[in-house]
Symmetry: C2
Subunit: 222 residues, 2 copies
């Protein structure tokens, strides 16, 4: 068994590995986990002793196969609980993160499988993030970012990459949510900001925003 803290480190390393290739730096982990670099170094040694990560002093860490498996289980639990909170307990999708951070550490294989089955084996959580199955397999994820669409493209929001409350509340305010259909009306060349159409309204989004919105691309205007 692993401590909650160990699990948090494994999850953080996993998530950084999705974004960055190569070894994950001490400082990126210390930033993500809001802890000091010295604490990270210490924990990486522990995780390395338990063979959950490959750690080279001064050159970062990567998960071992065993560490990756564990990380996927934590992600699975986190996302299943988020789904439960939103779909069954009337949470808003921007309220669930903190609670799911606690629930993901509950240890009971039976609980995870029964919860999954109770929820109808969902493939995506309320943020559109894919839920690993019990073997750690991820469903194919919506790959295009909104920023990759071209003028006139149509699509449907399938996920968001930034889970901060600020971003999620911004989206809410703009009426952008999961399964919202959008259309690209204009792209500013100098800063790549985008005007999109959402339910009859026109909304301007920065490149930062469009980079963090995943889209299922439906069709392109002739």
């Amino acid at each position: 068994m692993f401590t909650q803290s160990e699990e948090n480190y494994l999850k953080a390393i996993f998530q950084l590995q999705e974004e960055i290739e190569g070894g994950i730096s001490t400082s990126s982990l210390s930033e993500k986990l809001e802890t000091k670099a010295a604490s990270v170094t210490e924990m990486l040694k522990r995780l390395s002793d338990k063979e959950l990560v490959d750690y080279q002093k001064y050159y970062g860490v990567q998960l071992t196969e065993s560490g990756r498996k564990q990380a996927l289980l934590i992600v699975r639990k986190h996302r299943l609980w988020e789904y439960f909170l939103v779909e069954r307990l009337n949470f808003n999708w921007d309220e669930v993160h903190e609670v799911a951070e606690q629930l993901e550490h509950i240890k009971s294989p039976k609980l995870v499988e029964e919860l999954d089955s109770f929820l109808g084996r969902p493939e995506y959580d309320p943020h559109g993030d894919p839920i690993p199955d019990k073997h750690g397999k991820l469903p194919k994820s919506p790959t295009k970012k909104l920023s990759q669409l071209k003028l006139g493209d149509h699509g449907i929001c399938k996920g968001f990459n930034d889970n901060s409350s600020a971003f999620l509340q911004f989206l809410d305010k703009q009426n952008i949510g999961l399964h919202t259909p959008i259309e690209v009306l204009h792209i500013e060349t100098f800063d790549e900001s985008m005007t999109i159409k959402i339910a009859q309204r026109e909304v301007l989004l920065s490149k930062t925003a469009t980079d963090n919105i995943y889209i299922d691309n439906i069709a392109t205007e002739a």
Copy 2:
């Protein structure tokens, strides 16, 4: 906020107070929590500093009003989760205890209230134990122990006082469960063991067993 360990102590003190009048001894807590007496003493000082308990060296502890309120919240969460696990996730009632011990520490007032509402505001958990409401109020509990019934009495099982797996499995084997109707056929005078009728079968129960079974008394034979 309180640590998990502090919460476990508060719950344990609360439960011992239900059984025993007066101050709760260090040794009874150390036994219940499976920890050494020295650790208990240490924690009692901490809880006393936080004004959750009244602690007199060598003379035991009792919860303060604030400690009791906190303990009731933990009990509430524990029993709501047990209900959820049994009624929604297909757990058997003798499998839920360990998982509920973890879930009871999740901190989110909204989660507790939404879960309660989702479950239909149940009054009793799967062991028949009463679930405190959000203000800490307990529904009137089935008060009679099976051991208090007299020859010829009829009743319905409403709860059990010993949550050990061994006891719960024993009950299962005898087909004694929640809402099972029983009838007292015979009481042995020398050891107070009892023969009861359950669904056409006769079962002999020790005083230890009958002390741990709660009954709604229905009627007495003429």
